[in-house]
């Protein structure tokens, strides 16, 4: 009975959303064309009447596109959330959009003829390729929810930073890509509708067919196995369907992240407990929700700007709502992030290890300081040249070194804090907070000075930190909530950044350069500042190593050992956030050193906190210094940002590692 009542409530809510959408559409349409000519305009527009032309070729297909995209994303989100047993799984989490965007960027810059055959196909290929990588990893690890989401995130970030690097070097192409990335729904014919309609319809039909078996996924693996159902196959098939839907939608209109996340959530929270109900209601809610947002965007776009990308707007509205929802979610299969890493069996002899790592760092610093490239090719600097170039090289080396060490240490803290060997400072969303601050600086002044950028950037980082702490307090610093808040926050900030970029302001490239993780702006001043901040923060980390050793043992063990969990988590978070903010301000948010450094240290057999911290800091420093050096040389006189180079080295390694390691 209770379930019936709840389902009724969900249906009522869906009906209300639909009524609101239809009402909005009718009012807006009536204000544009008299209702008597709607039918004629829809099918046979008068070629002399611009309003009828726009109605036929733009307004109507846009409406249908919004509906179809919303439905597709709503359904995809419902599938993802059910299969991954993760209420915040989304197309973004699997890196589908990032892969599609990378493919489009590559095609635009190097093979524009491919676009003549339809940018949809290019984007779809990219989305499927990145998902293929994720699935390959997940396959090797039995499709565990955690490995999927984390690989998806890493792949997404990786594709994202590659995209940024390519765009940086080809700035004149970027406007259209930003618009696409921001999810513009504007149409100029029916081709997108004709592209979407059969695909979304087919996906719905398949969903109807597999809805019953999908129910089994709520069982745990052994009981379902005893029923004779291959869970990996079922999960794989269901995910493939959701990925197909997502990349179809994103390839047609770009990134519209929030709908796929929110629609199933609204359905669930309003009472749709059964999978069947959610699979029916989520697409309806998604579709009509997107129509509502898009109608509002169109109504507003005449007033504020010519073009507001709908996808960015959905995220601006949606992400805060998600943050509000987070503490209210009961996470099904609680602790999905709490999967432990199997500790490597061998233990390293530490003294030679640290000697080698320190030696590597010294070598990297010397090479980076002395070896360079000029118009005449590679050169080892003589005394004169060194005196000329040192003011540019040394601060970069110093900043890269400090930032690498800080990110790696922050990574160790976060990984131990969340008991998740694949977590990283990037996930906390602090970098995006700094990006927001830089945008504010650009709005305040057409040519922002460095100190203004530094001030607003720090303010952005601190705002994110405050939010993290606030949500941390509410959730008693549970690792799941921490990471999920960070992800939601990143989505929100990304939407803001993308909207700013999509307006086509040429200053956007500065922001882009920073996002890619460039040490370019490092000089003696910023190097000194970084040093002054880094030293006390790095020195503080070892003082917390007892907590770091105890926390991964689990809450009960920690309490048993007399640890004040709140205090420990709060202090570790604060330190990790400060370290990340200090590093990110000078090298950008996209470096993967915070992920790779701690991981390599663990691989070397350093399981206790203190040696892992020290080794991770050394590795992080070596990685960043070398990445910066390589980025300075490879495409001279252009330069690749250190963050991107670090990612190019680190991410393939991580993915290979994930695939190889036994579950």
């Amino acid at each position: 009975m209770q379930a019936e009542l709840r389902a009724h409530r969900a249906v009522l809510l869906t009906g209300a959303v639909m009524a609101l959408a239809v009402g909005l559409v009718l009012v807006r349409a009536a204000g544009y064309l008299p209702p008597s000519s709607w039918f004629a305009a829809a099918f046979h527009p008068n070629a002399e009447n611009v309003r009828e032309l726009i109605f036929h070729y733009s307004s109507l297909p846009r409406l249908v596109t919004a509906l179809l995209c919303g439905m597709g994303l709503g359904l995809a989100g419902a599938l993802f959330q059910h299969i991954l047993r993760n209420p915040l799984a989304s197309p973004t989490t699997l890196g589908v959009e990032a892969g599609a965007q990378l493919a489009l960027t590559i095609a635009t810059v190097w093979a524009p003829f491919l676009l003549g055959g339809g940018r949809e196909m290019v984007a779809l290929a990219g989305g499927l390729a990145s998902t293929g990588v994720i699935f390959a990893v997940a396959w090797a690890r039995g499709f565990s929810s955690l490995s999927l989401v984390l690989t998806g995130l890493i792949t997404g970030l990786f594709c994202g930073s590659l995209t940024v690097a390519i765009r940086l070097l080809n700035q004149e192409y970027i406007t259209s890509l930003f618009i696409w990335g921001a999810g513009s729904l504007s149409q100029q014919d029916w081709s997108v509708v004709l592209y979407l309609l059969p695909r979304v319809a087919a996906a719905m039909a398949v969903t109807a067919l597999i809805a019953r078996p999908l129910n089994l996924l709520t069982l745990d693996d052994t009981s379902a196995g005893s029923l004779g159902v291959s869970l990996p196959l079922l999960r794989g098939g269901g995910l493939l369907l959701a990925v197909f839907l997502t990349s179809t939608v994103t390839s047609a209109v770009g990134v519209i992240g929030f709908i796929g996340l929110a629609a199933p959530q609204v359905a669930r929270l309003s009472g749709a407990r059964r999978l069947r109900d959610r699979l029916i209601l989520s697409p309806l809610i998604g579709g009509f929700l997107l129509v509502i947002v898009d109608q509002c965007v169109q109504a507003a776009s005449g007033e504020f700007a010519e073009l507001l990308p709908t996808g960015a707007v959905t995220a601006l509205f949606g992400a805060p709502l998600l943050l509000w929802l987070l503490p209210r979610l009961r996470l099904a299969g609680a602790g999905w992030l709490a999967e432990r890493a199997t500790a490597p069996a061998r233990r390293a002899r530490q003294t030679p290890l640290f000697a080698i790592l320190s030696g590597l760092l010294i070598l990297a610093v010397i090479v980076a300081a002395v070896v360079g490239r000029g118009p005449d090719g590679f050169a080892v600097a003589d005394a004169d040249t060194f005196a000329l170039l040192a003011p540019w090289r040394l601060p970069r080396v110093a900043v890269a070194l400090m930032a690498g060490a800080m990110l790696a240490v922050a990574g160790v803290l976060i990984q131990r804090l969340t008991q998740n060997p694949m977590a990283s400072p990037e996930i906390l969303g602090i970098g995006t907070g700094v990006a927001l601050g830089l945008i504010v600086a650009m709005i305040l002044s057409p040519a922002p000075s460095r100190s203004l950028q530094f001030a607003t950037g720090s303010a952005g980082a601190l705002a994110v930190l405050a939010l993290l702490l606030w949500s941390g307090v509410r959730s008693r610093f549970s690792p799941d909530f921490l990471l999920l808040t960070g992800i939601a926050l990143s989505a929100f900030m990304d939407a803001l950044v993308v909207s700013f970029l999509a307006v086509g302001d040429p200053r956007a490239s500065q922001l882009l350069a920073w996002i890619a993780g460039s040490t370019y702006r490092a000089d003696d001043g910023s190097a000194g500042m970084t040093l002054a901040v880094a030293m006390p923060l790095l020195a503080a980390a070892p003082l917390l190593s007892r907590w770091l050793d105890i926390l991964p043992l689990g809450e009960d063990a920690a309490r048993g050992l007399g640890v004040d969990l709140r205090l420990a988590r709060f202090s570790l978070m604060l330190l990790a956030a400060l370290l990340t903010a200090a590093a990110v301000l000078v090298t950008g948010p996209l470096s993967f050193v915070g992920l790779v450094g701690p991981h390599l240290a663990r691989m070397l057999g350093l399981n206790r906190a203190l040696p892992q911290l020290a080794a991770a800091a050394l590795i992080g420093a070596v990685l960043m210094v070398s990445a910066d050096w390589v980025g300075r040389l490879v495409i001279y006189p252009l330069q690749l940002p250190a963050g991107v180079v670090a990612a190019l080295i680190g991410v393939p390694y991580l993915i290979w590692h994930l695939m190889r390691r036994e579950r």
Binding site: G118, L169, T175, P375, T385, A447, P448, G528
Partner: protein
């Protein structure tokens, strides 16, 4: 603040550079590094050869005229010129725009920096480009050349205006299409918009723009001007060309069906006084060619 910004690292190493710079003050600079394409184009048009310019490959593709002489060194990205390349060039002057304000303190340590802005909030870019040309020439000791360049360009504007005659003309929409659904449309405060005014033509796009002078708009917004004529700049991607020929809003726009949409060769929209003249020339050529075809 100043004490911590300087001094920690490399200050001693920077000292020789600072001393070296003081000696060069006052003389006419001969090794000039140029960070902005518009300023590089102006300098070449003044008959001077810059020692280094940023992103030379892309300059050749997007600005194309005037050509940069061979032997000019590439300095890297416009937004992030390569400091090592810049320092190795040993310039006695670096010319840039306020756009790179955050890098200017760094460039100042290599050589004196001259920052000249054509695109400024509230300013008209065409008038600014004249001022910028004179200021650049003054610093480079080429005032006479600047005078004759500006005179020649004004003369060219005048004769282009005469070529247009006094027949009534439709308002003009200027755009660069990003894809078949979106375009940058240039407003009255863009360099091109200023040129339209100089030629006595009217700009159909009267909406608010960024201070660079364009708005990002969708095809629907362009459709609101059925009486205008549309000029779109290269580079134009294949799907936009298909859109113009196809069965969609772009192909059905009254402007397009009436044959009033014209493709123009690439001209740098954020350029200098020379880019303005080049734009005026290609535009008037297209307009006059159309007059001819209608008469015939």
């Amino acid at each position: 603040m100043t004490a911590t910004r300087r001094g920690i690292l490399g200050a001693a190493l920077a000292l020789p550079v600072l001393i070296g710079r003081a000696g060069a003050q006052g003389a006419v600079p001969t090794r000039v590094a140029v960070v902005d394409w518009g300023l590089a184009s102006t300098m070449v048009s003044l008959g001077l050869v810059p020692a280094g310019v940023t992103e030379i490959d892309l300059y050749n593709r997007w600005v194309s005229e005037p050509k940069l002489p061979a032997g000019v060194q590439d300095l890297g990205l416009r937004t992030e010129p390569n400091m090592e390349a810049l320092a190795s060039l040993r310039p006695d002057l670096i010319v840039t725009t306020p756009f790179s304000a955050s890098v200017i303190p760094m460039m100042e340590r290599i050589a004196p920096t001259l920052s000249l802005g054509t695109f400024m909030p509230g300013a008209e870019p065409l008038e600014r480009s004249r001022v910028v040309t004179r200021e650049l020439a003054k610093r480079l000791g080429a005032e006479a050349q600047a005078g004759s360049l500006l005179d020649r360009i004004e003369g060219s504007f005048d004769s282009l205006r005469r070529r247009l005659g006094d027949r009534p003309r439709r308002p003009i929409l200027l755009a660069t299409f990003s894809d078949a659904r979106h375009a940058r449309v240039y407003g009255t405060n863009s360099l091109f918009g200023n040129v339209l005014a100089r030629l006595g033509l009217s700009n159909a796009w009267q909406r608010p723009t960024t201070f660079w002078g364009f708005s990002v708009a969708d095809t629907e917004a362009v459709a609101a001007y059925p009486e205008a004529q549309l000029f779109y700049h290269d580079p134009t991607s294949p799907d936009v060309l298909r859109g113009f020929a196809g069965d969609g809003l772009l192909g059905h726009l009254p402007i397009v069906r009436a044959g009033r949409a014209y493709r123009l060769p690439a001209v740098w929209a954020y350029g200098d006084v020379v880019a303005a003249e080049r734009f005026a020339t290609v535009l008037v050529d297209a307009l006059v060619a159309r007059d001819g075809s209608h008469a015939g």
